[in-house]
Structures are given as structure tokens and as C-alpha cells.
Amino acid sequence: MDPDRELVEAAAGGSRDAFDELVRRHQVAIVALARALMSGRGDPEDAAQEVFVRAWKSLRSFRGDSTFRTWLHRVAINVVRTSQARQGRLTKMFTGFREDAPEPPSAEAPVDQTLARRQVIERALGTLPDDLRVAVTLRDMQGLDYREIASLLDVPIGTVESRIFRARQRLKPLLAPLFRTGQ
């Protein structure tokens, strides 16, 4: 049972109040997803706003085959991919260089532990190929189950399991400092 069903029906019927409530419920998760997928490239809040704008426009086409949360994640993945592709083209056009990695930390990097921890995780995720990063983010950070992820990415469950396994293997040495802190 989709906990958002009633709100989705009301929003699809034109209720902005219902849609506002959906945004409040899912904004943190979508911004977190955008941050993880973009790994320092671009503005994740801007991308997340675009996700909800697109969701509003295409809400009538949401048939309820999945939960609203899963559908919103699909929209988010498409928005981020489009944004990254556009950014990659602009970068090539104006600099001639391909931006393969996020920018290194500046001398004024925050010392706040929470921010530092988040940065370590985001940078580690940024080293992964897109397919592995998306899968492990959806599973371990967004809490989607394997079936949902497989449906969202339109791949077999076995593929999802394999991607997540390989992603975690690659992340282990990069996240090891966080293991030792025990946080």
C-alpha cells in the first residue's frame, strides 16, 4: 500500500497543497539522491527542484504501477542523467577537457565532522561508474529493495545484486577511514 496514494490522487487532480506535502515528504531523500548521483558536479538542490517540477507536470501519467516514491526516484535518475550529459557537453565545448572527477577540496574545506563524513562518502561514490553508483545509492542510501531497483532501472534483479556487490567492494577501501571512527 502506497502511503502517498491519497496525496498523489489529490495532486494529480490539481491540488497544489497535496503536491506541496509530497514535496515536503520526499525533498530530503531526493536531494540526497541527487547529491550522491552527481558527486560534486552541479547543484543537487537545483536538480532536485527540477525533479519535482517534472513530477508535477507528469503526475497524471503516473499509473500507480509502483509506489510514488519509486516513480519519483525514476524521475530523479533521468533528471540527473540529462543534467550530467548536458554539463559534459558544455564542458567539452568550452574547455576541451572532460570533467572526470569532482574538484579537489579547497584550502577552506569545512572541518565540521558531519560535512566531512558526507564529503568522504560523496567523493567515494564519485569514483564509481554510473551504473554501480546508481544501484548502491538506491539500495544503501535510499533504502529501496532489490525488486524496486530492478524495476526502476529495468534490469534483472541479479544484475542489481551484482552491481551493488561490486560497488561495495570498490567503496570499501575508500570508506575504511569511516569504519575506524566507528561513526
Partner: protein, 123 residues
């Protein structure tokens, strides 16, 4: 549980414990502003040349490719929509495809005779 399993669990737990992002208090207001801006565009949005440029670019590219690859002899081909009755003339049956037909030492009278014969002497 193997060491690999423990490592998998450690990574999963670390990712799951990632601090949630701080979402700006104006996030919802900005979403609504963007939705309202898109709604106000209305017909102006339809006339947005940038959107149409992006939408039509693939079609324009396909037309350009077809035009570049179109064979030259196809341009001069004409086709009549309805069948037209044709009169077979000597010229229709005269097929100077053989080298002998273009012999330089053939007299003009011989050529004329061949043409008037309706191709009966044509090899």
C-alpha cells in the same frame, strides 16, 4: 559470515549512515516558483525558439543527411502522375548502343535509311 560479507555489511551500513543533506528552507517555494513560471509561459513556451530548436534539430539533421546522400541523377527524374499514351517512333526503336552504329565511315544516307526503317536493321 565470511570476511567479504562483513565488508559488504560495513560499506552498506556506512552509506546508510550518511548524514542527510540540509535542504534550504526555500526549497518548496522555489519548486512552486518554477512550476508557476512554466505555467505562465503558456503560448510563449510554445513559441520558445530554443525549445523548438532542440526538438527539431534531429529532424533537420536527418533531412540534411538525406539531401547530401541523395543521388544526383534522381533530381532530374520526373514522373507523371497518370499514364500518358506514347507514340512509338523510329527514334524510340533506334538504339545506338552498339559501337558499330557509330561508325564514322557510315554514310549519312545509310544512317537515314536505318532510322526510317524503324530499327529493323538495328542489330
Amino acid at each position: 559470515m565470511t570476511e567479504d560479507d562483513r565488508d559488504q555489511d560495513l560499506v552498506a551500513a556506512t552509506l546508510a549512515s550518511a548524514p542527510p543533506p540540509e535542504v534550504s528552507p526555500a526549497f518548496l517555494a522555489r519548486v512552486n516558483a518554477r512550476i508557476d513560471a512554466d505555467d505562465q509561459n503558456g503560448w510563449f513556451g510554445v513559441l520558445d525558439f530554443r525549445a523548438w530548436t532542440l526538438r527539431l534539430a534531429p529532424i533537420a539533421a536527418a533531412i540534411a543527411i538525406v539531401a547530401l546522400l541523395w543521388p544526383d541523377n534522381a533530381i532530374s527524374r520526373t514522373s507523371s502522375p497518370t499514364p500518358v499514351a506514347t507514340v512509338t517512333t523510329a527514334a524510340d526503336t533506334f538504339t545506338p548502343s552498339l559501337e558499330d552504329d557509330w561508325q564514322q565511315d557510315v554514310s549519312g544516307n545509310a544512317l537515314l535509311e536505318a532510322a526510317l526503317d524503324g530499327g529493323s536493321n538495328v542489330r
